[in-house]
Symmetry: C2
Subunit: 214 residues, 2 copies
């Protein structure tokens, strides 16, 4: 048992880095790379080799001096910590452009998540097929959730509807909200983890860095 | 001149936090909040008061003991550092679901960015109007860029087309790539800042946090 996995109290920053490691290690296996040095891994992720060693050496003897990391073992260990084998079930609320982009182009299964239902309140959209799913009427949400027990909800509905929907979902025992609405749900929601995908923060960061180049 | 703005070498983590401060301060002004304590600001952002003070006290005397921060001054200072008044111009490449979601629902101007043109290679889409913009044929990109000199390109085209497009754009003197494609452009692109919006990392982070709650 590694230090990271036994503690259960990994900091948010480390979890974020582990997620990036996981994605890159996954890509490496697909590229048939089975062993990698901390320096090469650092180049690939835009980190320093010493940061890589600090993050990964607590996984035990997988990073041997002059030998590199075993990609497969590292992937399995990190995947275990992140919980990708728990097979969490997700629903998506709001089949507008953002919802469609995720349903059509995003591979949930890669992160160990099963998308099990998608919902909208627009009668013109309900009943149509998006990403292989039939869009269900939002009125059916409660009955569906009680029967299928989704762990995670992807919120791609309009921002002003987000707080009430988040409350409804937590009452339905949904434990994680993947929030694309721009509403700051951590202010009001208890008992569920909220991951905000905030495009504005990302664009401001880019703007700053472009300014450094001008 | 604050320590942060004079240096020009703010760490990526600080820039990210400044972006979040900027967004929240902006919202506070809209809510008619003009002064806020470090503790209240911390609650709102999910940070500690001491972290807030550490980040913001270098802006000079705006955070007085028992008095709180002046929201308007702080907003202006942080906006200055992030460069929101430079008025950078952006183009968007790829008017699929993700591109449409951004054109229709995202306020670029809020971050000081002017969207000046959107492009696609699909003849069925070219000529249609999305978010107030007429979609231009990708063949017109080079002539457009030479005339209008965009600073930033939003990449919402398919992943496999991203590396070649990124190269083309940097040849056209685009200095920032806001990358939604999932391709790891920092591996190959020089001379431009790349901000990757990676949904997979975000979902894995949520998955981990949901696991802590189960």
């Amino acid at each position: 048992m590694s230090k990271l996995s036994s503690g259960g109290n990994v900091s948010q920053a480390v979890v974020r880095r582990l997620s990036r490691y996981y994605r890159h290690l996954h890509e490496m296996l697909q590229e048939d790379v089975h062993r990698i040095s901390s320096q090469k891994l650092a180049d690939r992720l835009g980190l320093t080799a010493s940061q890589i060693r600090q993050d990964l050496n607590c996984f035990g003897g997988f990073g041997q001096q002059g030998y590199g990391y075993n990609v497969e073992i590292l992937l399995r260990e990190i995947g275990g910590i992140l919980g990708v084998r728990r097979g969490l079930a997700a629903i998506l609320i709001g089949v507008g452009n953002m919802g469609r982009a995720l349903c059509n182009n995003f591979d949930f299964s890669w992160a160990g998540i099963r998308l099990i239902g998608i919902f909208d309140n627009n009668p013109d959209v309900v009943g149509s097929t998006v990403g292989g799913f039939t869009v269900q009427a939002i009125e059916r949400l409660d009955a569906f959730a009680e029967r299928r027990r989704p762990d995670i909800a992807v919120l791609t509905l309009p921002r002003e509807l987000a707080p009430a929907m988040a409350e409804r979902l937590t009452r339905l025992s949904v434990r994680g909200l993947w929030n694309f609405t721009g509403a700051d749900l951590h202010l009001s929601i208890e008992g569920a983890a909220v991951e905000n995908v905030n495009f504005a923060d990302s664009l401001l960061t880019l703007s700053y860095r472009v300014g450094e180049l001008l």
